[in-house]
């Protein structure tokens, strides 16, 4: 029987994380739930453990990319066959976990990314964020040769081969979304996009504020550019 884990990266999500775990458990009661606490200064780890999740904690804050890679390393080391990744702030509706996972479990694809722009009613991101998403949509879609409507989505599901690939140094830890899709495509993994529902962040928190969006776009473009320049041997599975 295959083992599946739901991983939730969390940084200062106290007061929210327990509800997210409960909602996930309601949808997929048999799956293990892992919370990777990225050096939170609040009660995130304690609340997650009390809610019944497996908790792995960074000694200090390392950022989103490092946090999800810790989750992949945990899942790979512990023999999980499939992994679903969902944000810890409650933005991603867990009701879509079975739909995201189904084609991966069936072996029809290696990697599924959940899109908020494919028909299911979701919140509308801010204008600047929509602009950024549109830019990366065009860029990533042209690079990988198929349309990816939501290349910055962190709602994903994938199999053990992708898990293993992501535990290596190839994984782009700085901002692992658009360039991660390009990397996956270079490595020959099959990518699919399915509709999911995303809610607005209740706390109004975002990774992208101030000058960060500009830095993010610059960094992501640079990252994609050097990914394309690298020796293809690096991406051999």
């Amino acid at each position: 029987m295959s083992k599946t884990i739901v991983v939730i990266p969390a940084y200062n999500e106290g007061g929210v994380i327990a509800r997210v775990i409960e909602n996930v458990r309601r949808v997929v009661p048999d799956f293990d739930i892992l919370v990777v606490n990225d050096g939170s200064r609040d009660r995130t780890a304690r609340e997650a453990a009390a809610a019944g999740a497996i908790v792995v904690s960074h000694s200090f804050n390392m950022g989103y990319g490092v946090t999800i890679q810790t989750a992949y390393k945990f899942a790979y080391a512990n023999g999980y066959d499939f992994l679903v990744q969902i944000d810890g702030d409650g933005q991603h509706d867990p009701a879509f976990i079975p739909e995201l996972l189904a084609p991966v479990v069936a072996g029809d694809t290696d990697f599924v990314v959940g899109s908020r722009f494919l028909g299911v009613e979701s919140y509308r991101p801010s204008f600047s964020r929509r602009l950024g998403i549109l830019f990366f949509r065009k860029l990533v879609s042209s690079l990988i040769g198929r349309t990816i409507s939501d290349p910055t989505s962190g709602y994903q599901a994938f199999n053990r081969q992708v898990m293993r690939f992501f535990t290596t140094d190839v994984f782009p830890c700085d901002y692992p979304d658009a360039d991660m899709l390009v990397t996956l495509n270079l490595a020959g993994f099959r990518i699919r996009e399915l509709p999911v529902r995303m809610f607005a962040n209740a706390a109004g928190k975002t990774m992208h504020s101030g000058f960060k969006p500009l830095y993010y776009m610059f960094k992501m473009c640079l990252s994609i550019f050097v990914t394309l320049l690298r020796n293809r041997q690096l991406y051999r599975r």
Partner: protein, 126 residues
């Protein structure tokens, strides 16, 4: 080159050379970081002693004054030093990332084993 300038440049290059060696000897500076300092002070020393080499180099790079060539050389040295540090910091960041991840995963394993031990043999994961 005026003799005053020459003496000053020699004293500075000798001071940098001796100071760097001393830091390495006292283990306050690692060998790998001393190479650029030693090479620069040595080059400066040679160019001051062999002034005609400095003049030839000045013509080669198209500068007007030999002192400009020395300034240009010191700027290149600083750039190389900054690049060396950037590369090192990138490597250290990667190593730190791996250490934090390993530490988190091992701490989880340790906690699991400790709880298992407290509950006695056969206790569950969570």
């Amino acid at each position: 080159m005026p003799i005053k300038q020459q003496i000053f440049a020699l004293v500075v290059s000798l001071f940098v050379f001796v100071f760097t060696i001393e830091m390495v000897r006292k283990k306050r500076l690692r060998e790998e970081y001393s190479v650029l300092w030693l090479a620069t002070s040595f080059t400066m020393f040679v160019l001051v002693v062999k002034y005609d080499w400095l003049v030839a180099l000045t013509h080669l790079v198209g500068a007007e004054l030999p002192t400009s060539t020395l300034f240009f050389g010191s700027i290149i040295f600083l750039i190389l030093l900054a690049v060396q540090f950037s590369i090192k910091i990138s490597r250290l960041s990667d190593q730190l990332k791996d250490l934090v991840q390993d530490n988190a995963l091992m701490r989880h394993e340790f906690e699991k084993m400790r709880k298992g031990g407290e509950r006695g043999p056969g206790a569950g994961d969570r």
